[in-house]
């Protein structure tokens, strides 16, 4: 298990840092390719959402320079970035991925969007070939764990989510949402969800603007709303009391001058901006205007923190599931670790058997088919009996996390070193290394 993970999330890094690391959907495939081209990285995948940017890899030696990759790729210095990074290896990396996929590490614990986002990142990485056997196993398991957490705990069922927090905040501003208009800028899933919540609380009508007009029409139809051409955004936006914005624009699309225009046209009636885009769509200067209330992703996190207690209990149950799943996954991987050793042991003994049979044939001359069959049965029987104990021991050891030592012993006993270049030989190298260090001490 040589998983290695590095990243930033809403807890470790402010929005300003996450903005600089955010990777757009378009650039993600190239970024995955760059990642696997980095020394020591066999497989790699990147999850980039508004709350996190994480690089998950399977490395050849378990200690690839992932910080170096981030520095190079994002042109950031160690001073700017390193204090915000977290790094996990092996079992802890697996645990982290399970927690992320199960939405236990989310800003709003239990929200469902993250699983979809991880699946998309996985699909992208698979499509470019940067995810193969090892990460494939990890993520397939992570999705199953997420499903289990969702079905066995109520962590995702409570109404607390970005959407309901947005509704709550809107009520603090407007009192009632009856008759209020909602404007969606950028037809993303999260904004759709927020809009659905707002409409359920009585908002009157909905406008949708998107760079692709067809998508705007599609979403507007879902709510019996009105699609607005993106060029008309600034002319139409003041009709809305609540604006949910989540475009992929690299810079703020709502700036101070726009805010002033809106307020003047609205006779200073307040406007509530829910800015779930990273980088942010609403400039901080505009957010300062009297009558403009702009909440970005980090602000929403503050707002949901008060709900944290409601979910704590369910989250504890979910954590227990994660812990048991990590153990299971680890055991399974260890079992997989012993497989190459078993195979090479079988190969090794089969080679010996064949060589001995050939030698006997050479000495005894041609044998009758009956004799051939008897010899075949005899030798196979011996080989199987000899192999039985080592294979059983290997499998048991794998379940008990002793695989490395036992693999090492079996490989040394049967001189399997040079025939297999899989994980087992790596484990062998590592354990030999450890022993050397211990001897020196």
């Amino acid at each position: 298990m040589r998983y290695q993970l590095i990243g930033v999330n809403h807890k470790s890094a402010p929005l300003e840092v996450r903005e600089r690391l955010a990777i757009s959907e378009k650039n993600l495939p190239d970024c995955c390719r760059d990642l696997t081209a980095h020394p020591g990285i066999e497989e790699g995948m990147i999850i980039s959402t508004c709350n996190r940017v994480e690089v998950i890899t399977h490395t050849s030696n378990g200690c690839a320079d992932l910080r170096g990759f981030l520095h190079d790729h994002f042109h950031l210095t160690a001073a700017e970035l390193d204090s915000h990074l977290y790094e996990f290896r092996e079992k802890e990396a697996v645990r982290h991925i399970f927690r992320v996929a199960s939405s236990l590490d989310s800003m709003v614990v239990g929200e469902a969007q993250i699983l979809g986002q991880v699946k998309e990142a996985y699909a992208t990485a698979r499509a470019v070939g940067s995810v193969r056997g090892q990460l494939d196993q990890l993520f397939t398991r992570a999705f199953a764990v997420a499903k289990r957490v969702r079905t066995e705990t109520a962590v995702g069922s409570s109404s607390v989510s970005i959407a309901s927090v947005a509704v709550e905040l809107a009520k603090k501003i407007f009192g009632t949402l009856q008759g209020k208009n909602v404007f969606i800028v950028g037809a993303g899933k999260m904004s759709e969800l927020a809009a659905r919540h707002l409409m359920a609380h009585g908002c009157a009508s909905i406008f949708v603007a998107n760079r692709t007009y067809e998508r705007a029409i599609g979403l507007a139809q879902k709510f019996n709303g009105q699609a607005i051409k993106f060029e008309d955004l600034y002319n139409a936006c003041d009709k809305a009391d609540i604006v949910i914005t989540s475009t992929g624009a690299p810079h703020a699309i709502f700036r101070k001058e726009h805010g002033e225009q809106f307020l003047s046209r609205r006779k200073n009636k307040p406007m509530f901006f829910i800015d779930i885009a990273v980088p942010r769509d609403v400039s901080p200067e505009m957010a300062k205007l009297d009558g403009i209330f702009a909440y970005d992703i980090d602000d929403l996190q503050q707002a949901v923190s008060s709900h944290a207690a409601d979910r704590r209990h369910e989250a504890e149950l979910a954590e227990a599931i994660i812990t048991s799943e990590v153990e299971r996954f680890e055991a399974r991987l260890h079992t997989l670790d012993v497989v190459p050793t078993i195979v090479s042991l079988q190969d090794h003994l089969e080679t010996i058997r064949q060589a001995e049979i050939d030698r006997v044939r050479g000495r005894m001359g041609a044998l009758t088919p009956e004799q051939e069959m008897a010899m075949e049965a005899l030798t196979r029987g011996i080989i199987n009996k000899v192999m039985h104990t080592p294979i059983t021991t290997l499998k048991t050891a794998a379940r008990e996390s002793e695989a490395t030592t036992v693999i090492d012993v079996v490989r040394r006993l049967f001189n399997l070193h040079d025939k297999e270049k899989g994980p087992a030989s790596q484990a062998n190298r590592e354990s030999t290394g450890k022993k050397e260090v211990e001897t020196r001490h």
Binding site: K172, I173, F174, R266, N268, P270, D290, Q302, A303, S305
Partner: protein, 270 residues
């Protein structure tokens, strides 16, 4: 006896006053309910005090203390109307201290201070006092609402939903309270000034615009009008509205204080 009832009312309002200070630092539903009941009881005592004064024929319309008592009562009435509509006690943060102060001054029973003149046209005088005081009470509420609006706006801008002053109603509700008080108060204030002018005209035969009381009253009315206009025309809220409301409130207090300097509308010891 009237004074005794007023002092009972004062004791009840005191609970409202403590609530007002308490509410600035933390939220308590229980205390808010206690304050509300205490204030209602206070209003009953206050009403009894006013009725008794009236029935005993002791009402001296030109008495400053009676006027203060009446203004306090009107302010409480406004507060209760708002409570019945919006189910919020938060304007009490501003209203309770003002009401307590007015009732306190009215209840200390020093030598009653009277205003000069005004012996004739008693009906006009009564109308003037009631209208002006209703206008003042609306202004007090509007001023209170604009301060609460500022507080709530700051809180929402600071993005700390768990902050201490979370008892405040929604921003737009506070805004409505302020705006409706303002709209309601304006005709009363205007009519109050007109009736006052009628009383002054009939008493003195002319209106002395150089008199500080007249000048400040007109100034107050102008600020009031600007507030209504800016709100109606460009929807001024928040900081700008609060500045205007503070100006109008200060103008009202100064106009009241002008009773010490005015020649035609002056406090004199009885």
């Amino acid at each position: 006896m009237s004074l005794l009832w007023l002092r009972f009312a004062l004791a009840c309002y005191f609970i409202g006053l403590t609530y007002a200070f308490f509410a600035l630092t933390r939220t308590s539903d229980l205390f808010s309910r206690i304050a509300l009941h205490a204030a209602s009881l206070g209003m009953v005592f206050h009403f009894v005090s006013l009725v008794e004064l009236f029935l005993a024929g002791h009402v001296v319309w030109a008495s400053v203390h009676n006027g203060e008592s009446l203004l306090a009562f009107f302010s409480m009435t406004f507060f209760m109307i708002i409570y019945s509509i919006y189910q919020t006690t938060s304007p009490g943060v501003v209203v309770f201290p003002i009401v307590f102060f007015l009732t306190f001054v009215a209840a200390i029973d020093e030598q009653p201070v009277l205003l000069t003149g005004f012996v004739q046209h008693k009906g006009w005088l009564i109308a003037h006092i009631i209208l002006i005081f209703t206008g003042y009470a609306a202004l007090v509420l509007s001023f209170g609402a604009s301060l609460l609006y500022l507080l709530q706006e700051r809180r929402l801008k600071a993005k700390k939903p768990s902050s201490l002053i979370s008892f405040l109603p929604a921003l737009e509700v506070i805004d409505q309270i302020g705006y409706r008080s303002l709209l309601l108060g304006f005709p009363f204030m205007t009519l109050g000034l007109i009736t006052g002018s009628v009383v002054a005209m009939s008493t003195y035969g002319h209106i002395d615009f150089a008199d500080p009381k007249i000048l400040l009253s007109i100034l107050m009315w102008l600020v009031y009008m600007i507030m209504v206009f800016t709100r109606w025309n460009s929807g001024w809220r928040g900081r700008r509205a609060a500045v205007l409301a503070t100006c109008a409130f200060v103008a009202a207090v100064v106009a009241w204080a002008a009773n010490y300097f005015s020649t035609i509308h002056r406090f004199v010891a009885s």
